[in-house]
Subunit: 337 residues, 4 copies
Amino acid sequence: MVVILRQNADKAQLAQLENWIREMGLESRKTEGVNSTILGLVGDTSKIDIDLIGALDIVENVKRIQEPYKKANRKFHPKDTVVEVGGIKIGGGNFAVIAGPCSVESEAQICEVAEAVKAKGAAMLRGGAFKPRTSPYAFQGMRGEGIELLKEAKSKTGLPIVTEIMDISQLPLFDNVDVIQVGARNMQNFELLKALGHTNKPILLKRGLASTIEELLMSAEYIMSGGNENVMLCERGIRTFETATTRNTLDLCAIPVLKERSHLPVIIDPSHATGVARLVKPMCIAATAAGADGLIIEVHNDPAKALCDGKQSLTPEAFGDVMKAVEAVRPYSYKFN
Amino acid sequence: MVVILRQNADKAQLAQLENWIREMGLESRKTEGVNSTILGLVGDTSKIDIDLIGALDIVENVKRIQEPYKKANRKFHPKDTVVEVGGIKIGGGNFAVIAGPCSVESEAQICEVAEAVKAKGAAMLRGGAFKPRTSPYAFQGMRGEGIELLKEAKSKTGLPIVTEIMDISQLPLFDNVDVIQVGARNMQNFELLKALGHTNKPILLKRGLASTIEELLMSAEYIMSGGNENVMLCERGIRTFETATTRNTLDLCAIPVLKERSHLPVIIDPSHATGVARLVKPMCIAATAAGADGLIIEVHNDPAKALCDGKQSLTPEAFGDVMKAVEAVRPYSYKFN
Amino acid sequence: MVVILRQNADKAQLAQLENWIREMGLESRKTEGVNSTILGLVGDTSKIDIDLIGALDIVENVKRIQEPYKKANRKFHPKDTVVEVGGIKIGGGNFAVIAGPCSVESEAQICEVAEAVKAKGAAMLRGGAFKPRTSPYAFQGMRGEGIELLKEAKSKTGLPIVTEIMDISQLPLFDNVDVIQVGARNMQNFELLKALGHTNKPILLKRGLASTIEELLMSAEYIMSGGNENVMLCERGIRTFETATTRNTLDLCAIPVLKERSHLPVIIDPSHATGVARLVKPMCIAATAAGADGLIIEVHNDPAKALCDGKQSLTPEAFGDVMKAVEAVRPYSYKFN
Amino acid sequence: MVVILRQNADKAQLAQLENWIREMGLESRKTEGVNSTILGLVGDTSKIDIDLIGALDIVENVKRIQEPYKKANRKFHPKDTVVEVGGIKIGGGNFAVIAGPCSVESEAQICEVAEAVKAKGAAMLRGGAFKPRTSPYAFQGMRGEGIELLKEAKSKTGLPIVTEIMDISQLPLFDNVDVIQVGARNMQNFELLKALGHTNKPILLKRGLASTIEELLMSAEYIMSGGNENVMLCERGIRTFETATTRNTLDLCAIPVLKERSHLPVIIDPSHATGVARLVKPMCIAATAAGADGLIIEVHNDPAKALCDGKQSLTPEAFGDVMKAVEAVRPYSYKFN
């Protein structure tokens, strides 16, 4: 951490700051410049509140040098994390595709989609039971009943199931769910993250619509600091000024940036990022090529009749076509090491 | 709702769409153009899922014409909502300032600040008991104990108290809280919004960091559709590319836009928007001049020692100076009618 | 400037870097931390290319501490710049309103608007002769002829004229123009800025749609470093994700931030920022209250028939109403010192 | 174009509007809804100023249905444009890589880099002679002399040359340049675009930092409407809230979106988008996989000593490594049809 002092900083206040830094178990090293003086803080600064120092009269600016995340940080865990879900591995060179409908709608629908995506090569089944919808008047999901239907689809196909949690109180219903998804809107629902940190379930943590990569890693850190290190990071598009065709802007450069900073697997969700079915295939190919550890794709047996997000869902045939393209490009994708 | 059809749309599919629209209780009126044909949907389209129609092969684009919110919509409720909190009114020409520390830290601290802000003209006391912090290693608030201390400060000063809820499970602790705040990160925690819709407490709903004005109104709609119409909207800065000095970009134009679209009171939070104490005063004056119904301002007895967000907190003296400037500008502020 | 070195940086390369820093006339002071070592550079670092150092293998990150602008920097010129235009002063406590149509359309139109805005209290006349339009098929302005008509309006009313330049080759036509405007799209047309730096005309420099405050000041620096220090900065809305009602997001906090960093006058353009006539008044009041040195407002005698941007133009009557509100709020506006 | 009328719109004004629409050679078809009435405009609406209609009292909103670009529009030119440069083809299934240094620095440097990138498979040489730099104190390029050196490198290697123009007055110096680049900051320098529309040179048009895809296509339309249809579109990163590691956010989804809307070739610039050499390779692979028609990559013989943007330049060896990866992934990339 580097503290930049104001010109002519009061000496008594400066001495007090240096003293406080020492009390925090850190050392400070002063460099006097022509127009400004800087203090370099040496030691574990992750517990120092940067705003606290920034609030001092004598301080012009404070800049953090070390990342504030530890358990998610590749510096301290150089080896890739491999998340295992019912025999399926993701990360560390293992690649998997999660597919299924936006919402669970009926037993027939979820089982039909599950069988179709399994046949085309999906490794896990996704399906929303609790649905975060912008409008209170829109379909809110089948909730507990939806989870029961997912379990049925799992028992028929053997596919592990991935579904979203929206509130701590729903946790008991997730006992037989294989991967708990935290949606973009809940990425900073810190109470929920803490509760998930005390489970032993793999967590698929989606990046918030306007969350930085560092904030995503800090949210992973919330889960990991509770003891649950089975976290998969998911980029699903960020909000920018561009909204002409696509709902969000898919940040594929987040793949190498996340993998450089963290050892956690990185999954890409092109369905939500683009919001347009015909853009899913090129973005799946590109994400795979850029080195993603997995994809999560919306597939529906009858997209035009889907109860939500039909616009971005693929038919099982189109999904099969995407799977072939993804498998073809995999050997030529970027490798991290 | 206007549906733009693709060139050479299949006639059978079009007939099917027109039929479906009729079944939904709506009429459709067709306009054939040179390069495209449009369908205008007539009736209550608020329950139509725009994505569902957009997913059809024959549809190029769908545009909504009516706002998807009703209870929050000024069109259907032309008169300003006035929220009453322990004798204090906000909205409909009534203006109030909420002030207090970012976090409750101790009995001495919260009572001292409460008395100081009351003396300077604040109408309510704010103070965080549950604190959403980006880092799991940062101070997370005094939680239940913090709420007890707020109640103590209330009993000493008579100021109604405003504090943030982070999870449904905390709701029982808010029985004696006067205004429940929903933070920016929870603006789309829909389960929480639904639960708050079943209380009768005034809600201070903060705009998410990257939430549009329509999304803010839809979140208000979630609360209101549950039966609780005591909602105050709060703009607290949005995330943009500009981060040189200020944490966020304060969107003051949201005041007239929100008041045009909705009858709910609009509160401005310049402390979180700027993140810098010395920018709070000019932004308080500007927000008041732009027609805000109230302000929420961070004040701490010792900002440099605040356990969080000290950088943006005013001293009680500086707060008094802001109050004088705000009161002076009030008679010349913009009036809606 | 602070250089953060990688863990285990090669010692020979580090010695080479320290040597190069010395050759640039700077000193470097090393602080060794547990996980990283930093070099603080002491001296005038404004000519050091931050990317050059960042490119070195041994460097993890470089952070600038001093601002890269000098002539525009308040640190080196604490006193407010006052720009004088034909007897009108802007800055240093002087406030002026510039008004007029988006485009010059005819002699009758520009003279009628000029007289109307003068009668209501405008200090200068604006009017576009060269029009930057997104579409090549839209009206491109009356160009040279438009400037002649502006001069006519000036000779009739005595109002100094402000109009936009789009290319260096147009400069000779601006001989009798009082203030040359650089539009948002040309804020980083560096060749044009350099050319304007060699004139002695006051320049109204508009902030680019997605330009940071630092970039705006660097563009002012381009003009000032050529010898022309008569620069007025103009905030006119930035591009964000929010586009529901307003074209852009007006960043009123830019007023105190710019005035803290720079001595140049700050003008606000609510017409382009909002793009909606009925939002101009509240934003004019707010901008004035926040401490702006002036406003630039679109006024048209017949907005519904304006050849461009009619949607955001006020009638002369509405402008008169805005002027009264602005004059009323002026005494209570924020003062910098 | 769809015009949404206000509730209770004045009938005389509405009749006037319908009349005016007829005079413009268009038909209007009215649809009366419960809460609003809409007018559908039938005919060529590309010359209608959307703001003009939006300014009318009786109009609540206007929405464009047809794209405002024609020559760049795939609807009217379904076949891919193939741009030819000295025997090299780009577009329509032809792929090419442009490589070279950010700035031309000396004859030795540019010739050395030219030979190195040719040996590794580059089809054209890039190099900046006129350099847009944020700071007036930074290196501004070798200008005319730089172009002479580029020609020398061309005569030695046979590689066509690509270099940036910053002002119309520089055009005579570009006589022997093969491709004229328009930089991101000049994407809406409309006078320059018009001038380039009157040349017969291929133009590499970079997307502005905060320009939408529609604005990029409108800028291409400026060039094409002047008669020059040899335009290549270049995505080089957009400005978002995320700036932790990368300078900008590379919008790879712009590839399929642009190719769907336009017949022009699409080139990706991962060097400027990321600003970080080690991220160039994964983004080159991803861009190729997503279906780009070409890449433009910064390569320098000694990145650490580059006069600008060294941080993002590859060494010739690293470039060779990228070329191999790009060639390997090409057969598996997304195909448009």
